[in-house]
């Protein structure tokens, strides 16, 4: 199926003279072999080419004229849906958007919108200095808020960790049919593991005559090898005319 193109005029609202950036968004019906329940193929629009300052809200705003948008997934690359990464400085923005409509006919309406050839206007929200200031403020939470958030995660982890041995214990019990599930389990380790130093193998290297002979031959061969290598290198240098001192 061909991509349909949709012209979107993104405009900044805060400046005195309005700046408009016209982008071409390429859309088509979402089709994949293995379907993800969150993006059902009959209701999902696959769109490409969103500018970096676009968030899910903008995408939703563009397509809401076609119908009720029940979900937007904005990400860097097409393919599998990426769970929100919790990286510093990461966050909004992406070039690929999956727009999930509530009804299949809304999707068709949206595709019709694309074919129309008429530009859609979209307010881009906050960008630039205002956005960075807001970012700064949002990162400076007070310590109680931070604490609560951290404790929540740690608490969840602790619960999980506490649950794990129980679960494992339960697995080791024979079930109703008398079967025991056997899993391989790596020993948990904390702290960096220092690789155990291998004991040096005690071996005499110059005990037998053949060893002595070999080592001597090897020494000569090594010298020759080095000589050939050096010669190659000098030849290479010569081709670069590296021997002209002045």
């Amino acid at each position: 199926m061909e991509f349909l193109s949709l012209q979107v005029d993104f405009f900044g609202s805060t400046t005195d003279n309005e700046i408009v950036s016209t982008h071409t968004i390429f859309c088509k019906k979402h089709t994949v072999r293995r379907e993800d329940p969150t993006t059902p193929s009959d209701r999902t629009l696959f769109s490409l080419g969103w500018p970096p300052y676009c968030s899910g809200n903008q995408v939703e705003a563009v397509f809401s004229r076609a119908g009720y948008v029940s979900g937007t997934f904005l990400q860097e690359n097409a393919g599998q849906l990426v769970k929100k990464a919790d990286a510093e400085g990461g966050g909004q923005g992406g070039r690929v958007a999956y727009v999930v409509f509530s009804q299949p006919e809304e999707l068709d309406r949206a595709l019709g919108l694309c074919g129309g050839g008429e530009a859609v206007r979209c307010d881009i929200g906050t960008t630039g200095v205002r956005k960075w200031c807001e970012d700064y403020a949002s990162r400076r939470l007070n310590s109680t808020a931070l604490d609560t958030a951290a404790n929540l995660v740690v608490g969840q982890y602790d619960n999980c960790a506490a649950y794990q041995p129980k679960a494992r214990k339960r697995l080791s019990q024979p079930d109703s049919d008398g079967w025991v599930t056997v899993t391989s389990r790596r020993p948990q380790s904390n702290g960096p593991q220092n690789p155990r130093k291998k004991k040096k193998e005690k071996k005499l290297t110059n005990f037998y005559l053949f060893q002595q002979r070999e080592s001597k031959r090897e020494a000569v061969a090594e010298l020759r090898r080095k000589f050939l290598k050096d010669k190659e290198r000098v030849a290479q240098l010569r081709t670069q005319r590296r021997f002209r001192p002045f």
């Binding site: 805060t14 400046t15 700046i19 490409l48 960008t127 939470l141 404790n151 960096p192 002045f246």
Partner: protein
């Protein structure tokens, strides 16, 4: 059974081998001890290589105890301790004795009790009392009957004596053996011989007593000459021997050769021969290959005889490497190891020699020379000549009118080729043929050596020759007679140029004059004689010079014309000038020739030395160290037997450099002449010449025109050269011969004295000194004045400088028809290599006020000397220089030199300019530009550099130290902090502008009101007004003590860290009253106005992350990798690098400031976002760790110059840049890096920096800079280097705009400029070109009040903008920015991104259909092509930077749209 029955060994090897079986038995050990020490358990151990047999410990039973006087007793082995040995013994052919082979027994004291003795009361003697009894088995082998008793006696040393008897069952026989006593502290090893060599006893080391005759064997009692503890040991041993039955093959290298060299491997040899011949056909035929080929040919000849027999070695694809070595090949290989440093050095030298030596085809040249010779010899004689020939200008600047005598011209008696042409030591760019024209005696008169008369006649003579040659130019085959030029004002010679084919082999024929049989005696020209009578000579000099001294009343012209006048000042330089024309050239030629006949490798060495000297500018200009000096030096070394005729050119080079480096010709000169009482002594030369090297006549000083400063420079260079010739880790060859060492790169400090006439005032100061200098120096006394200055400067500077020298004066040449050109250097340049340990001290301590030297000190320093009272109560004379800040102290040496020149020569202060601090304005904060007026009161205003921010850096370090102390002292932390490491450039003194402390006040209007739900005590930036003052965050990495309670999941770890940050924040504000601001990923702490950003490094987190990556799905990997790389850089690499580089900055004072300057330069060229701080610092570190061919730089200017030099000269494509931090990499590891680099070049970044931390990757320089960016950077470096060195070497340095082309980048090459508004560029005040008023935003406020709120930290809108742009648009364009106050971001479109492409899902961003143009018609209709939508991208730039971007300036259209 006897040994004689052994089967004869391998006779062919020249040795016979026998195998024996021995059994040795110990029966008892008798010991005698002195003092209180007693052993309890003793053990015998038999040792040989890796084999070891131990007896069971036996008890030592005291037989007699004398209390503190010692004891004696025995230890018996029951049953006896027996060891069976199988031993192979060798015997030379026809000899009756076996070769020596030693076996050893050790007796150990294994007493567990801790005992004390007098020497070391605290040590246990468990191992200290080991005693060795060696057995010499060959002796036993001769006895036919088994069982003998052998008595061993070890002679006593300072602490022990021992006697051992070995018993065999047969006849007693004395054994010759060596015994050793091991003792850790007090037992020295001893050597003794039992029976026949009592005198060896005297070699006992450490023996405090006089030696005495060895007691008899039976005497085992206490010896009277022993003063210390003694121990006697008796060993009984039974040796039985059995005959052996094995034949031993002796496998030595000779054996290999002998056994295999005959035909067995002839087949292999032949095959290899073919291989090698192939190689030779490929166009290489070095000597070595020819040799190998020769060998192989011989081997091949034997194929039919021995073909395929034996099958000695396996044939593999590398059979060539494993073929048996031939004798010659072994010799070559060994020779390379011994005679040259390495193969590579040998081959490289051979290449270099072939490159610089002129080609051998000389046919045409010989023709020209012979026709020139006939022309010269057949020139017509003239009668008295008064006038000069037409069209030739009189070539010297002396006034000829007052010259006495008359001149006639006769053709030369002989025309001889002298110099390097015959000796084959000429090098290519300046090929000269020196012809010596022998002036016939008829042209000269008896006293022509006086009063410049010879110089006049020589000038006339050569003028005549020049005039005649001009007429007959074509006939002689000369192309051009270009100049009649001097090297110095009065050395005159004629240059004729000959083209022989190619331009590179252009020869210059130089005609010299020589008078071997002069009508005056050479003795009259020894240095202490006067040959220039002032009355006669002064009037010939140019009047403007004479007026300098003639005005002084002391210059009375005495009437001692023509007669010998001993009280006149000597004229050593003039004398040697005349003397050198008296057969010197011919003599030197024959000396060198004789030496070269004896030692053929010498010629090559001379060529190498000439290349070496030329690269350093040591041979150019006036008074250079020319090729013939090197030849004569080598000839001298040969006669001194320091060079052996068998040495290779490499070895001779080393010896020569060593000789120069260790020489001291300024105080103890050398002479090539045999000692002769009739010759003047060396000391008489020393009193008139600064450097003395006499030739074989003993009268002529070869180095009379070499200035002392040049000699010291030469010596310094030789010493430096030796260090990297010895160092196998550096590429000695490139450093010695291939890298040019220019003056401005070499020296840390350059001073210019301009104009030169100010130095002439030296002549007027004292006529007694001035007149002879003027006479001796002729029209150009400047070199002699400089020579007088040098000792004064060196005395004043003392240990501050390693080398002080003057830039060589350029010699001049001119056309024969033109007026002579005097050396017209407008200025004198002084170069100084500083000693960073002493150079920057502001105090010169003088003698005590009441001492006799005090007066002298005061006279030397003048008004700067003052009395000072020091802390220890002493009152001394001292000189204190201006140097409040570190930056000012860098100018102390320049201050001293200026002062000394002013005081001792009268050079006005403003005529001296220096490079010290020339670039400091680029590092000084705007704040300080207001303070520079502070020093205007002192007259050294021009030398005082502005403060350069080192003090601020120090302050940060202090605060960090205090914070670390506070952190470590915190109580109640769940996990203790084990390490605190800085990770920002500030912590290694490399921050371009170390931040100032925040003064606690931020303009209210720049702040935003916090939102109600976020009630923390932080300040927030407001978007409506200007950005608040920039407060950077200084990165600090903490490590906590290990704990098993950390979670093992990434999000949980991160949360635990956050929890720790908040906890730490509370603790810090409670216990240390510090303002803190925790965030999710770090904790910011405000301390004395600085914000430190603490991060926790938990090593396990990284390994969990790695495990996650290996298990993760493909679409998640890239994100995780990025996180890993960031964490690795932030938490591991940076702290490590910081600590290493911090050490470096402490070791080398110029490192930090130099690195700052280099970073500033990179930033000025908008490369900040392409080349990271750490990468630049590593490159700078390389300048200090491997400074070759220079020495470690000591001033920021030098660092920048060498950094630019490194960027522009390093072969980035073929060579990795290895920075051997802490000397961690060994030579072999570096070789491994190199070979890895060569094999994987295409995958590695264009700028590859290997360090011990990153050996086979260069994470600091990848992915950026990309190739085009880096290429541009190297080009910029090259250009900047040229401009900057030109500016530094010119005397109008202070007026020059140093920023002009070096720190202002051209903006023409870019496509788009994004202009930024100033109010949101937080560092705008740091820009290279900044208006003065902008400095106000950065004022340091004296009234620091305690801040109640946390400042806006690390908020830089521009960096955020840049990061967003790069993240989104890096596939279409490159962005360039200067983070130190840049007001615009430059953009370059990527051409390859703009080529029309068909639609692709992965590249559907910002694309538009191509306009249906001509190009698209040819394509299929259905296929639409897409190009980036530049218009949309540009609009996006503005949208994304709302509030920051003022305008876009489009310089040129995107590439595709242009076409």
């Amino acid at each position: 059974m006897s040994a004689q029955k052994a089967i004869a060994g391998v006779r062919r090897l020249g040795k016979e081998a026998y195998q024996f079986q021995f059994t040795s038995e110990f029966e008892y050990i008798a010991l005698e001890c002195k003092g209180t020490w007693r052993p309890t358990l003793l053990k015998a151990v038999w040792f040989r290589n890796h084999r070891k047999v131990e007896s069971i410990p036996v008890k030592w039973v005291t037989s007699e105890d004398r209390g503190p006087n010692g004891a004696s007793g025995k230890a018996k082995f029951k049953p006896s301790f027996s060891v069976g040995l199988v031993v192979t013994l060798y015997k030379g052919k026809g000899r009756d004795r076996f070769e020596e082979k030693e076996y050893k027994y050790y007796i150990q004291d294994v007493s567990v009790t801790i005992v004390t003795c007098q020497q070391c009361p605290n040590s246990a003697h468990r191992k200290d009392l080991s005693l060795t009894v060696p057995l010499s088995l060959p002796l036993h082998s001769r006895s036919s009957s088994p069982g003998r008793e052998l008595r061993h006696k070890a002679s006593p040393d300072t602490t022990t004596s021992s006697e051992a008897a070995s018993k065999s069952t047969g006849k007693p026989k004395k054994d010759k053996g060596r015994k050793k006593l091991f003792g850790r502290k007090h037992c020295a090893s001893i050597e003794s011989s039992l029976d026949h060599h009592p005198e060896e006893q005297q070699r006992v080391p450490l023996s405090p007593t006089p030696p005495s005759p060895l007691p008899t064997i039976t005497d085992s009692s206490h010896r009277p000459w022993e003063e210390m503890n003694s121990m006697v040991k008796k060993l009984q041993e039974t040796v039985t021997k059995l005959e052996n039955e094995h034949k031993i093959i002796h496998a030595s290298m000779e054996g290999l050769e002998e056994e295999v060299g005959r035909g067995e491997t002839a087949a292999e040899l032949a095959e290899d021969g073919v291989e090698i011949e192939d190689e030779v056909e490929n166009g290489r035929s070095t000597e070595e290959e020819k040799e190998v080929e020769g060998e192989a040919g011989e081997g091949g000849g034997d194929v039919s005889v021995g073909g395929g027999g034996g099958g000695g070695w396996k044939k593999t694809h590398i059979a060539g490497l494993y073929q048996p070595p031939t004798h010659d090949e072994l010799r070559t290989l060994k020779e390379t190891q011994n005679l040259y440093q390495s193969n590579l050095m040998r081959l490289q030298m051979a290449e270099l020699l072939s490159e610089v030596k002129p080609s051998l085809s000389r046919g045409r040249l010989e023709d020209i020379l012979s026709s020139l010779r006939t022309t010269l010899m057949s020139l017509p004689s003239t009668s008295t000549v008064d006038s000069l020939p037409p069209k030739v200008h009189y070539p010297i600047n002396l006034d000829p009118s007052s010259v006495k005598g008359k001149f006639v011209f006769h053709p030369p008696l002989a025309v001889k080729v002298v110099g390097s042409y015959l000796l084959k030591t000429a090098i290519k760019p300046d090929l000269n043929i020196d012809l010596a024209l022998q002036i016939p005696p008829e042209c000269l008169q008896a006293k022509d050596h006086l009063n410049y008369r010879y110089l006049h006649k020589r000038a006339l003579y050569l003028s005549h020759v020049a005039a005649s040659l001009r007429r007959k130019k074509a006939a002689c085959g000369l192309q051009k007679i270009s100049s009649l030029g001097p090297q110095q004002f009065i050395i005159t010679r004629l240059h004729c140029t000959v083209f022989t084919g190619r331009a590179e082999s252009r020869y210059t024929i130089r005609l010299h004059t020589t008078v071997p049989e002069a009508p005056w005696k050479p003795v009259k020209l020894v240095p202490d004689r006067n040959n220039l009578r002032p009355q006669r000579s002064l009037c010939q000099l140019p009047p403007d010079l004479v007026s300098l001294v003639a005005g002084s009343p002391d210059c009375e012209l005495r009437s001692c014309d023509e007669s010998e006048c001993t009280d006149l000042p000597p004229t050593p330089h003039y004398n040697s000038l005349v003397l050198s024309d008296m057969g010197g050239m011919e003599r030197h030629l024959s000396d060198v020739y004789a030496a070269q006949q004896e030692c053929p490798a010498m010629a090559d060495t001379v060529v190498l030395l000439r290349v070496w000297a030329r690269q350093r500018g040591l041979s150019q200009g006036y008074g250079g160290f020319a090729g013939f000096h090197f030849s004569l030096l080598l000839a001298l070394l040969l006669t001194q037997r320091k060079i052996s005729p068998l040495m290779s050119s490499y070895q001779i080079l080393k010896v020569a450099l060593q000789a120069i480096a260790s020489s001291d010709w300024s105080t103890s000169g050398v002479s090539m002449a045999a000692p002769d009482p009739s010759l003047p002594s060396l000391s008489s030369f020393h009193s008139h010449h600064s450097v003395v090297f006499l030739d074989s006549s003993g009268l002529l000083n070869l180095l009379s025109h070499l200035s002392l400063s040049r000699y010291l420079w030469l010596r310094h260079e030789a010493a430096v050269g030796l260090t990297f010739l010895d160092d196998t880790a550096t590429d000695g060859f490139t450093a010695l011969f291939m890298t040019p060492v220019s003056f401005e790169l070499k020296f840390d400090l350059l001073l210019h004295i301009s104009p030169v006439s100010v130095l002439h005032s030296y002549l007027t100061r004292d006529a007694n000194e001035g007149t002879p200098l003027l006479l001796d120096g002729g029209c150009w006394p400047l070199p002699l004045i400089m020579e007088k200055l040098l000792p004064v400067l060196n005395k004043g500077l003392g240990k501050r400088v390693k080398l002080l020298t003057f830039r060589p004066f350029q010699s001049t040449q001119w056309l024969v028809s033109k007026e002579p050109v005097l050396p017209c250097d407008s200025h004198v340049t002084v170069g100084v290599v500083l000693d960073s340990d002493h150079a920057f001290s502001v105090l010169d301590m003088g003698p005590a006020a009441d001492s006799k030297q005090a007066g002298e000190f005061r006279v030397f320093w003048g008004e700067r000397s003052e009395l000072r009272r020091f802390q220890d109560g002493s009152i001394n004379e001292a000189v204190v220089w201006t140097g409040g800040s570190v930056g000012e102290r860098r100018g102390v040496v320049a201050q001293i030199i200026t002062h000394l020149l002013h005081r001792h020569v009268g050079v006005p202060v403003e005529s001296v300019t220096s490079s010290a601090g020339a670039l400091s304005p680029l590092l000084s904060l705007p704040l300080y530009s207001n303070n520079c007026d502070r020093d205007t009161s002192t007259n050294q205003h021009s030398l005082v550099p502005l403060a350069t921010g080192e003090e601020e850096g120090k302050k940060i370090e202090d605060e960090f130290g205090e914070l670390s102390k506070q952190l470590r002292g915190l109580k109640g932390l769940p996990l203790a902090i084990t390490s605190i490491q800085g990770a920002s450039p500030e912590f290694r003194h490399c921050s371009v502008f170390p931040p100032l402390a925040w003064n606690g006040r931020t303009p209210r209007k720049t702040l935003a009101e916090p939102s109600p739900e976020n009630q923390s005590d932080c300040l927030y930036p407001s978007c409506d007004s200007a950005t608040p003052p920039f407060v950077p965050a200084l990165e600090v990495v903490l490590q906590l003590e290990g704990s098993g309670k950390w979670p093992s999941e990434l999000t949980a770890i991160s949360s635990v860290k956050t929890a720790f940050y908040t906890y730490l924040s509370r603790t810090l504000s409670d216990q240390c009253q510090l303002l803190c601001s925790p965030t999710k990923h770090h904790l910011d702490v405000l301390k004395s106005g600085y914000v430190f950003r603490l991060r926790i490094h938990y090593p396990r987190e990284l390994s969990i992350l790695r495990e996650t990556i290996s298990a993760a799905q493909s679409h998640e990997v890239s994100g995780l990798r990025k996180t890993l790389a960031t964490m690795q850089r932030q938490l591991v690499d940076r702290p490590l690098l910081t600590s290493i580089l911090h050490g470096l900055s402490l070791q080398y004072s110029a490192f930090g400031v130099g690195a700052r300057l280099c970073k500033r330069w990179i930033a000025a060229h908008l490369m900040t976002n392409h080349l990271g701080d750490e990468a630049i610092e590593l490159m700078v570190a390389r300048l200090f760790l491997q400074p070759h061919p220079f020495t470690q730089p000591c001033s920021p200017e030098t660092v920048l110059l060498r950094f630019l030099f490194l960027l522009s000269i390093h072969e980035w494509e073929t060579e990795p840049l290895i920075v051997n931090l802490n000397n961690e990499l060994s030579v072999s590891e570096m070789a491994a890096i190199r070979s890895m680099f060569t094999s994987q070049r295409s995958q590695l970044p264009p700028c590859f920096i290997a360090t011990p931390l990153h050996r086979d990757s260069s994470p600091l320089t990848s992915p950026s800079p990309s190739f085009p960016v880096f290429h541009r950077l190297c080009l910029l470096a090259k250009e900047s280097l040229g401009v900057l060195s030109g500016q530094l070497i010119s005397p109008d340095l202070p007026t020059a705009d140093i920023k002009a082309q070096v720190f202002r980048t051209p903006l023409t090459g870019y496509n788009v400029l994004i202009h930024l508004t100033k109010k949101h560029v937080p560092l705008a005040a740091l820009a290279v070109d900044v208006a003065v008023e902008t400095g106000s935003s950065h004022t340091r406020n004296s009234s620091q009040k305690d801040p109640t709120h946390f400042p806006v930290t690390d908020f830089n809108s521009v960096e955020k903008y840049l990061a967003e742009l790069e993240r989104a648009y890096s596939e279409f364009c490159l962005f360039f920015y200067d983070k130190y106050g840049g007001r615009c971001i430059a953009v370059v479109w990527k051409p390859q991104a703009f080529s029309p492409q068909p639609f692709k899902v992965m590249q559907a961003f910002c694309k538009t259909k191509t306009a249906p143009g001509k190009g698209s018609k040819k394509k299929k209709k259905s296929e639409c092509l897409f190009v980036p939508d530049a218009e949309a991208i540009l609009a996006d730039f503005q949208l994304m930077g709302q509030g920051l971007v003022t305008s876009l300036e489009i310089i040129s259209e995107p590439p595709a749209l242009c076409s």
